[in-house]
Structures are given as C-alpha cells and as structure tokens.
C-alpha cells in the first residue's frame, strides 16, 4: 500500500532529533566552525542520550550503528526498521549542523561499517566505541581497489603498513576501521577492513586538515608503521574470494550511502527553510497552486530547488526502506547519494544567492551550510562514482567495461 509519509512510530524520534538540532547544535554551530580542531565538548552528554535512543526498544536507532540488516524473521510484511529511522534521525540532526553530527561520539561511519559486517563477537568487543573510517590514500581516492596499505599475516596478528588521509573523526575516535590489501597483486578481492585501536603505537597521527566546511569535524591523516592488530580485528571473511570481489567492504556502502544522502537532505532543508523565511520577510510568498513561472522569479527558483529537494528526500527514504526490507539497494543507494549530493550543493549555493549579503555574510548560517554542503557530494563516493555505479547497474556493465 503506497504511502511515502514518515511513519507514525518514528515521529517522536524525528521531533527529538529536531529538538537536539535546534537547541544543542544550532547555538554552537558558528562557534565550532570558527574554532576548527577544538573538540565540541557539548556533544558528550548528547552522545549518551543518543546511545539511549539506540538501545531503546523496537523504535530503531537514530545513530550510525542502526544500519545493521536484521533478518526479517520470516515475516513477509512491510518493515520500517532501523535503516529508515536512522536516516530520519540524521536528516533532523544535519538540519541542525552536519559538522557536529560527524563529530558525535560513537556515530562514525566506522560504526556503520562495524554494524554492517561484524560478527557477534566483534560487535560485543567493539560495541559502544567510536569508530572512524580510513579508506582514502594519497594515491587512491575513488579508486579504492588501488589502495596500497598492506596487511600481512604474522602469527596471530596482521601487520599494517601504509598511509591514510581524510579520516573523519580520526583524531577523536576510539577505533579506526582501516582498509588494507592482503595481496597487492589480487586487486579488490584482497581488500579487507581492519579495526585498529586509536592508541595502537603503530598508528601515527600526521596532521589535521584545514577545510572549506564541516570544520567542527576533525579530518586526520595517519601513517601506519608496522601496526600490529590481532587476527580477530579483520571485519568479515578473511578468505580472498575473487568471485565475491569487494564483498564485505563494499557492502557497507549500500547501507552508508543513504546516511550521507540523509545528511545532504538535512542541510538542503535547513537552507530552504531559512531562505523561505527571508523571502517572506522581503514580501515574496511561495504559492504551491499558482504556476511557478507566474510568480516572482525568486519564488520560481525556490520552487525549483524545493522540488529537487523533494526528489532527493524521497530517493533517500526509498533506499533506506529497501535496506529495512532486505531488498538489494545498491542502485537506489547510489541514486539517492548522487541526487542528494548535487541537490544539496545547488540548493545551498542558490539560497546564498537568493538571500544576497544576508546569505553570504557570517552573520547568518547560510554561507556556512553552503560550505558544508560540498563535502556531501564528495565523501562516501563522489558524484561521479555514484553515476558510474548507477550506469553500470542500469546498463548491465562490469567495472572493466565501464570504467
């Protein structure tokens, strides 16, 4: 039965998320944009609160760990579970501040990776900790099959060597999920992810980046030098299965891309709502019944941006809903990420233009959202990578045919 409204059972979660965004994130938004690299200590108490929300009942999580795919238990019916609730929670929090969401303890993308593929033992061992994700290297960004960090088995331990850049929350997290190859000659099938404790002596912090946006969130570069981790730190299957290809590692993305799309949806909505308010103050009303092109040019532009936002929002909900119902969703996850990423940038920048100097100056947050927006069309797979994935799926192409 077709219904694309937010389910009633998630309404308390959404309103809680909105309240946190409004009362905790927004008031400190500018502060941590200016004080790059200082830890937003206000978030500690909040993180505990969100842990509580995650543990609470069947309502599903609001956090990054909510993406674990539970079996349907033989129930054929429609399910609205933790993927959907997580996406809804993230939209609200990023309406507040996406940089602060990324700084939320225990809500890293590494947590999503662990939640997606960890065994029960690993879940037990690493649950409750804050996990960052280290994939990118100086010479390997989108082409994650080309990563050069190695993992060699030595007795009961893997020894990791290499360099990792752009690790979100890398300095503050308890754990870093590091992608490394078991054999450089095998390609993607040999790439596995390993959980490295932040205080491992083989893990050396090189520096923190200064960035265009999401400045509340730390972005760290590391060197791994004979970094030893126990055998059990490998996430997923240790065998090199060339048929399964990326398997475990890439499977994470089907679950995390809707989350990043949700961040983009949240930022876009923040920009739209603020701009609408400003336009109304300036005497421009948005009318949904009057044809767009017979309204003020600013209203027509607004409607155009809002309609892109609507598409991005619904594609994001669809991808999460499919994950909840154990339907394969790589296509829809990439569609959502592509649409939300580019929409968020277009909307945030368009809103700055519509609001003029109010949009551009630091007196308001619109300029900040426009800076924050850009990363959402880049990390967790750039726009171009998403288009590649969508094209391969639609056209039935392998990655060697369509490169």
């Amino acid at each position: 039965m077709i219904n694309l409204e937010i389910p009633k059972k998630f309404k308390p979660l959404v309103s809680q998320g909105n309240q946190v965004a409004r009362e905790v994130f927004r008031p400190i938004s500018r502060k941590y944009d200016e004080a790059e690299h200082s830890y937003p200590k206000e978030l500690d108490m909040l993180a505990s609160l969100i842990d509580g929300m995650n543990d609470g009942s069947d309502m599903g999580g609001a956090g990054a760990a909510g993406v674990r795919r539970e079996s349907n238990g033989g129930d054929e019916g429609n399910r609205n579970g933790s993927n959907l609730s997580t996406v809804l929670g993230i939209i609200e929090l990023c309406w507040g501040d996406v940089g602060l969401l990324l700084s939320m303890p225990r809500q890293g993308l590494g947590n999503s990776a662990i939640a997606s593929v960890a065994t029960e033992e690993q879940l037990e061992k690493y649950g409750g900790k804050w996990a960052a994700m280290a994939i990118t290297e100086p010479e390997a960004g989108s082409d994650s099959a080309a990563i050069r960090t190695t993992a060699d088995l030595s007795g009961d331990e893997y020894v990791l060597n290499g360099e990792k850049i752009f690790v979100t929350s890398g300095d503050r997290a308890d754990l870093i999920v590091v992608w490394a190859t078991l054999d450089r000659n095998v390609g993607r099938a040999a790439i596995k992810s390993f959980i490295v404790e932040r205080d491992n002596p083989g893990l050396k912090l090189d520096r923190l980046e200064h960035k265009l946006g999401i400045r509340a969130s730390d972005t760290a570069n590391f060197t791994l030098q004979n970094c030893r981790v126990p055998k059990e730190a490998l996430l997923g299957n240790p065998e090199i299965d060339t048929k399964a290809g990326f398997g475990g590692a890439m499977q994470t993305f089907d679950n995390t891309r809707p989350l990043v799309a949700a961040m983009a949806v949240g930022v876009a909505r923040a920009s739209l709502e603020e701009t609408r308010k400003r336009l109304e103050e300036a005497g421009v009303e948005i009318d949904y019944d009057k044809p767009a092109l017979t309204q003020h040019a600013a209203a027509a532009r607004y409607l155009e941006m809002e309609s892109d936002y609507e598409a991005a929002h619904l594609l994001t909900l669809q991808a999460a809903w499919m994950a909840d119902n154990s339907k394969p969703n790589s296509l829809q996850a990439s569609m959502a990420k592509a649409k939300a990423g580019r929409t968020c940038v277009d909307v945030a920048l368009g809103c700055v233009e519509l609001c003029g100097s109010l949009g551009y100056s630091e007196n308001h947050l619109l300029e900040k959202w426009a800076r924050d927006a850009k990363i959402l069309d880049i990390f967790e797979g750039t726009q171009q990578i998403q288009l590649l994935i969508v094209a391969r799926q639609l056209l039935g192409k392998t990655s060697s045919e369509l490169r």
Binding site: P291, E306, S307, D308, M335
Partner: protein, 445 residues
C-alpha cells in the same frame, strides 16, 4: 546495426538529397502553374492542421437513471501507518494488465497514431474495457472503486504512457470528466451523467481548463460565466482538449460571477459552442482541439456541484498529478529505449555505453525519472488519504515539467541523428514530454 562510418554516409547522402529536392521544389514554377503552392506550403508548415471550425453536435441524451438523496462519494482510504512503496495486490494486477496492453497494443500503433493525429476507435474501446475511465465513479453508481483511487490512477497513467503518452491522453480524457462529476457533482449530476461512463459505450468527454495564452494561471481563468437571470452565459476559449469533435460531454472552467473559478457541465449542441482543430507539437493521437464559447447559455444546474473554490483548486491539483503520471511513464519508456540503444550502438570499436559521457546521461535519466515517480506517488497517496497535497503536487509538477523535458531531450541526444528521425520513438517522446509542464486540467486522478 551498420557501423558509424557507413551510417554517416547514408545520412549525409539522404540529407543532401532532401535539401536539393526541397530547393528545387521551392524554386520551381511547377507549383505555381499547377496552383498547388499554397497547399504544399501548408503541408510543410502544419501537417494536418486544417483550421476549419464546426459547431458541436448534440450527442446522446443524458437522463438521471436513479434518484440520489445526497451525493455519492468515494471514501478517503484509511490512513496508513507505515512507509511503503509497494502497490497493493489489486493495484499490481491492474498495473500489470495495463502495462501488457500498452506494450502489446499501444506501442505498436503509436507511430501511426502520431502521424494520423488519431487513435483507432478499437484501441480506445479496448482501453476502456480495462476499466480505466471509471476509477473515479462511486460504487453506488456502478463504479468499481470503493475508496479514492488517485494512486491507482497514477499507476495506470504511468503504465499506459509507457506505451504512448498521446494515446494515453486520448484514452484517459473521458475518465477525467467522470472523476470530476464523481468527486464534486450534485446528486442529480451524478445520476444523470455517471452511468454512461460505466458501460461499454463510454462517451468521449473533455475536462477543459487550459486557455490559449502565455502564463496561463488555472486559478484565474479568463473564460467568464455571468449570470443572466437563472441562467449562466459563458464566453472564452479552451485549449488542447482531447478529441473535442467526438466529445459528448464537456466540463469547463470559468470565472463564475459571484463565485470565483468554477466548473460547468456542458452538453454539445448548446448554442454558442464551437470546436476547432488545434494540432500541437505532441499528444497528436489525442487529436487536440479548442473549444470556443460565445455566449453559450447554460441552465443554473450546469454549475458542477456547489461551485466551491476548494473543489476547483483540488481539481487543478489532481489534474497536475495525472499529467505527472503520464510524464513518468514516458520518461521510463525513454530510459528503457536508450538503455538498449547505447548498449548496441558501437563507435570507436566498442558500445558507446562504455563511455562515461554517454553512460552518465543514462544515469541521470534513471535518477531523475525515479525522483519524478516517487514525488508523484507521494502526492497521489496524500490525496487518497485525505491529507493536504498542494505542496507535494507542486513538487511533482515542477520535477515532471523540468526533468521530464530534460529526459526527452537526452533521449534524442543519445541517439544522435537517429534520434531526430522518425524511425525511432524518442523524437515523439521529446515532443510529448514537453506537455507535462504545459497542460492543465484535461486528466484527473
């Protein structure tokens, strides 16, 4: 499939020949001697536009079959508690049936129907047998749907337009009149007109809101309805009706004296009513035409329902959702077609789909058509559940107007010169998809 270089040869030769032929024809005095220059020029200019007007002729007699004490209405569907994008079983059956019909019966005749500016009667009859024109008729009056059926209508519009958007318009237009009367009509109007829409011999009918002017706003029609004693007198022009010459019933929007914009039920044969041809760039199987009202005198009872403004606004919104559903179907047809083409077409020694410039265009068609589809479903689902759907309708319409047209354009682009010629359907979809942002009224969910 011929190679690119062979193809270019043929295309260049063909183009050269065509231009030479045209140049000779234009410069020749043969046409003038035979006094057919005007005719040829008109043919070159406007295809089958023949511009003659005709008075509408009275059709069947509509008579109230039963007496209703109050208006029969479909109930809003029960509010749903969960997010869901799966149609229910009944909807899936209907959707599959119409989809099969569109593939087997509609698509094969679409090219000819576009050329003829006419949809075969037999095909319209078959479409009607699928029950597509009675979705808005309350059960008490012979309809099939107990609950409101906007989502079901959207699924059907999408499936039918996957076959052809112009034929879908021709086939679904009568249903819009039935839905308008079923939603907002008085008990007498329902009892008089609706039974005809539930039988086999459904009348052609048109819901006329659009007017021929730039920046037309359906909430401010320039067609007027003024009071003359107990009667109404209507003046104005309505644009792009489906098969107006065939119509046995019109529902027409006018600015009604003392009421604001409202709808009027008009039977052909009314004095002051004429129809004329209005061929357009697309939707040609629907044989589009204008309806002209020149002091058309109507009885008091011609006002649809109570002429409430909110009914009229809802009608405008429901029409926009319906056009979105057709745009979604045509966009999906484009996607399916170009997918196959770019995988088969080779250039520089491999399928052109191996190139990002081509493949990414296909991705964008996929992403935007999916966004259009979801936005349209959302608006329809809110309508069925009795929630306000003004915003969601505006969103879907903006997407379908803009992305729909982009998709139509990319569809031609991806086939290059082959997309521009009528051997492939993409040029037709290009013309049809432009309609999604232009049309008002005419269809309803």
């Amino acid at each position: 499939m011929p190679t690119a270089s062979e193809d270019r040869g043929v295309a260049e030769r063909g183009m050269g020949l065509g231009l030479r032929w045209l140049g000779r024809l234009a410069g020749s005095d043969l046409l003038d001697r035979l006094r057919i220059r005007k005719g040829v020029e008109r043919t070159l200019y406007g295809g089958t536009k023949n511009g003659f007007r005709s008075a509408t002729v009275a059709g069947r007699t509509f008579k109230a079959a039963q007496k209703l004490t109050g208006p029969a209405r479909q109930a809003p569907s029960k509010p749903r508690s969960l997010f869901d994008i799966t149609p229910d079983d009944e909807q899936q059956m209907l959707q599959e049936g119409v989809r099969d019909f569109a593939e087997a019966k509609v698509r094969p005749v679409a090219k000819q129907a576009d050329f003829d500016r006419s949809t075969p009667d037999e095909l319209l009859g078959q479409a009607n047998e699928l029950g597509i024109n009675m979705l808005g008729v309350p059960e008490e009056l012979g309809g099939v749907m107990h609950e409101q059926a906007a989502v079901t209508s959207v699924l059907i519009g999408e499936a039918l337009a996957h076959g052809d958007m112009g034929i879908a318009y021709a086939a679904l237009a009568p249903g819009a009149v039935a839905t308008a009367i079923g939603h907002w009509g008085t008990p007498e109007q329902e009892a008089t007109y609706l039974p005809a829409f539930t039988g086999e011999d459904t009348p052609a009918a048109a819901l006329a809101i659009l007017e021929p002017r730039p920046l037309f706003d359906p909430l401010k029609p320039e067609t007027t309805a003024r009071r003359d004693g107990e009667d109404w007198v209507l003046n104005g022009a309505k644009s792009l009706l489906a098969r107006p010459k065939e119509c046995e019933l019109f529902v027409v929007a006018a600015e009604a004296e003392g009421l604001g914009p409202a709808l009027f039920v008009i039977e052909p044969g009314t004095s002051g009513l004429t129809v004329e041809e209005e061929p357009a760039m697309g939707l040609r199987p629907a044989a589009t035409g204008r309806l002209l009202l020149d002091d058309a005198k109507l009885p008091d009872t011609a006002l649809l329902g109570e002429g409430k403004r909110e009914d009229y606004v809802e009608c405008v919104q429901r029409a926009r959702i319906a056009w979105c559903s057709l745009a979604v179907g045509a966009a999906e047809a484009t996607l399916d077609y170009v997918k196959q083409y770019v995988n088969e077409r080779t250039a520089f020694g491999e399928p052109i789909s191996n190139r990002q410039g081509v493949a990414f265009a296909v991705s964008d068609i996929g992403i935007e058509s999916e966004g259009m589809r979801l936005a349209t479903y959302r608006a329809a689902s809110r309508a069925d559940q009795g929630q306000d759907f003004a915003r969601e309708t505006a969103m879907a319409r903006r997407l379908c107007a803009q992305k729909g047209m982009q998709i139509g354009s990319e569809g031609v682009q991806l086939l290059g010169g082959h997309g521009f010629v009528k051997e492939h359907p993409v040029e037709r979809w290009y013309r049809d998809l432009r309609a999604a942002g232009v049309m008002e009224g005419a269809l309803l969910v």
